[in-house]
């Protein structure tokens, strides 16, 4: 496995997609759909948002033309990779009535073999977090596991940060450290456009072999480091995570929850765009004859009234309690449940909140009411 950085020229990216397709992967990467960067099937670089960037802030997202031909010159869109590993709707089983009551019908699903192109470091961390949720406990999600084990990950190190990014605070980026097959850093210069490549696995090595590549020179490596540094310095947001779990545990009854509830629409956008949110509901349905039944699993959100319904009423009736549940889960209880934070600092919940509620501001408000930080600002 190559330990040193390699270099591929700009047009080798198309060859990379081709090689992956030839190896049987369904290649998923960034596309432009509905004025946003959306991960979907791509057949070549021509399907990608070449020369586009995004401008993000609380409650605001706009695509904008760049002055260069960057392939990855934007940060993250509303969709994360979770929709491929943890599909928004999944049929868990089908059954038919019979003499013994009912019989579960056999189903054969060809497991999808995905190659993800352009996974950002924060998103890679989101995948690691969902690995713990779906594969780290007593029960394993068989669909997640079978898809997860087969994916080929081409990470991309961010060269620029977005207006709502705070991966540096969450220690999840901007450079991918592990868990990828290949990691690219895109370098666009006046005369040249190329990628430095880090190899993260044997499979990555095998794929790289198929592409024209060479070892990176010193100036190319430092150009790549410069891009990462640039992104680190551009973070649109910061969050002080010092003692964050205890801060929130101490403040279940803080007045800030009332304040945020006055703004929150309980629309659930933050949970849908979050790359780690994993809550689902189960629906049991029958056909019109009543002879066939199915069980479906669908993404759900702790912002719905139904979520906490228990004989006779909902437990979390107020928007205040629902926002508190979400944010406390993300930043505090998650740590007790899975050993990591549930937040990777991707900023999606800030960008896609229709009223621009900002998780970093909410944390700050609670912290400041206690007299500010207990440690170093990150």
């Amino acid at each position: 496995m190559a330990e040193k950085s390699q270099v591929i020229e700009r047009d080798a990216l198309d060859d990379l997609l081709k090689v992956l397709r030839e190896q049987g992967y369904e290649v998923i990467g960034p596309t432009i759909q509905e004025s946003a960067i959306v991960y979907d099937r791509i057949d070549g670089v021509s399907d990608m948002p070449v020369g586009w960037t995004d401008v993000q802030d609380g409650g605001s997202y706009r695509l904008k033309k760049r002055t260069d031909e960057s392939r990855f010159g934007y940060v993250v869109g509303p969709h994360s990779w979770k929709k491929f590993l943890f599909p928004p709707e999944l049929r868990l089983w089908r059954a038919k009535r019979d003499d013994a009551g009912f019989k579960i019908l056999e189903e054969r699903e060809q497991t999808k073999k995905y190659a993800f192109i352009g996974v950002r470091s924060c998103e890679l961390h989101a995948i690691f977090i969902q690995d713990r949720v779906f594969m780290g406990g007593k029960h394993v999600d068989p669909v997640y596991k079978s898809r997860r084990e087969k994916i080929f990950i081409v990470a991309v190190n961010c060269a620029e940060a977005g207006g709502t990014c705070f991966c540096v605070s969450m220690k999840t980026g901007p450079k991918a450290q592990s868990g990828y097959d290949l990691a690219l850093t895109e370098i666009v210069e006046r005369e040249r456009h190329y990628f430095t490549v880090e190899v993260g696995s044997e499979r990555g090595q095998e794929v790289l072999k198929e592409l024209q590549h060479r070892e990176a020179k010193h100036d190319e490596i430092s150009a790549a480091e410069g891009r990462t540094r640039n992104a680190s310095e551009q973070m649109g947001r910061t969050m002080d995570i010092n003692d964050l779990k205890e801060l929130l545990y101490r403040n279940y009854n803080h007045e800030r929850w009332e304040n945020v509830a006055e703004r929150c629409l309980s629309c659930a956008n933050c949970t849908m765009v979050c790359p780690t949110c994993f809550c689902t509901t189960v629906e049991d349905v029958t056909d019109l004859t009543g002879q066939y039944a199915e069980r479906l699993r669908r993404w759900d959100s702790c912002f719905t009234i139904d979520f906490s319904y228990i004989h006779g009423g909902s437990l979390r009736k107020s928007a205040k309690s629902r926002y508190r549940q979400w944010m406390t889960h993300k930043l505090a209880t998650w740590i007790d449940q899975f050993g990591t934070s549930g937040c990777v600092g991707c900023g999606r919940c800030i960008t896609w909140c229709p009223v621009g509620i900002d998780i970093t501001e909410e944390v700050k408000a609670i912290r400041e009411s206690e007299g500010g930080t207990h440690g170093d600002q990150t």
Partner: protein
């Protein structure tokens, strides 16, 4: 790969339906495949009414009879209504067992206080059976039961049976009653002061509405019990029972995995936080 194994129910045939109260039924179920389901007192199953839905229901039967699954269900929603309406020989789906048990083994050599409110007696009945089956292993055994009214007393004939034993102290109260009722009136926590046990060497198993458990715990602590002697069963919405759906979160815990039975000191920090 095809079906999502941990979410697939097994067919069970309804062998007997007992109407306990106006809206509460006990179903005795037997696996169609004939295989037993071993479980511990306090655990629950997901019961499935074909095409209607699935609900978490505690076992309420005798755990030493793994071929016969007993569940006591109150008909409050579409699924529980469908399950309660299942006739003899009809089929329901079962997934389980899930959750943590009452610590019956830990109570060996100690006095045991079982406190139940309303239908909360059902999840405790397997523990009562287990204790009575090996009665000599325990010290004093006290059962405190409170129901809303005399007509809501669950498992009434068994309560009479247990009360008639010389080795069991059964104390019962109702929240309100007409003049014909000659028993105790008042919430179940008022019974705590009357019990005769070695407080320092006993365990308490508690199950009922959260508000009832809250006041009972206050009384128990007043009586000298420590928080780590009190076990209680919590309830939240559950959709999957395997820790994936997120609905049953209670603070940092998933009630389906780390509960439903908790030792009080382990959840005290989150207990009674409004709308948690």
């Amino acid at each position: 790969m095809g079906t999502f194994e941990p979410m697939v129910p097994e067919a069970y045939r309804v062998r007997k339906v007992i109407r306990e109260l106006a809206d509460t039924y006990t179903l005795e179920l037997e696996s169609v495949s004939g295989s037993p389901l071993h479980y511990a007192p306090g655990q629950f199953n997901m019961l499935y009414a074909f095409g209607v839905g699935e609900v978490p229901i505690s076992m309420s039967g005798d755990p030493s009879q793994p071929h016969l699954l007993t569940h006591t269900v109150r008909a409050v929603g579409p699924v529980t209504q469908a399950i309660c309406a299942s006739g003899r020989d009809s089929v329901v789906g079962v997934r389980g067992p899930f959750g943590t048990p009452w610590p019956v083994e830990k109570a060996v050599g100690k006095d045991v206080v079982i406190m139940a409110g309303g239908i909360g007696l059902a999840p405790l009945r397997p523990a009562i059976y287990s204790i009575l089956q090996q009665r000599e292993k325990f010290g004093k055994f006290v059962l405190l039961y409170g129901s809303r009214a005399p007509e809501n007393i669950l498992f009434e004939s068994e309560l009479h049976e247990w009360r008639s034993r010389f080795d069991t102290q059964v104390n019962l109260t109702v929240d309100s009653a007409s003049g014909n009722w000659k028993g105790n009136v008042g919430v179940v926590s008022t019974l705590i002061s009357s019990i005769d046990v070695d407080v320092s060497n006993s365990l308490v198993f508690l199950c009922g509405p959260e508000i009832m458990m809250h006041f009972s715990i206050l009384e128990l602590i007043k009586r000298g019990f420590s928080k780590n002697q009190i076990y209680l069963s919590m309830e939240r919405n559950m959709k999957c029972a395997i820790g994936f759906c997120g609905h049953c979160q209670f603070g940092p815990t998933f009630i389906c995995k780390e509960g439903a039975v908790f030792r009080f000191d382990q959840i005290e920090r989150f207990f009674r936080i409004k709308e948690i």
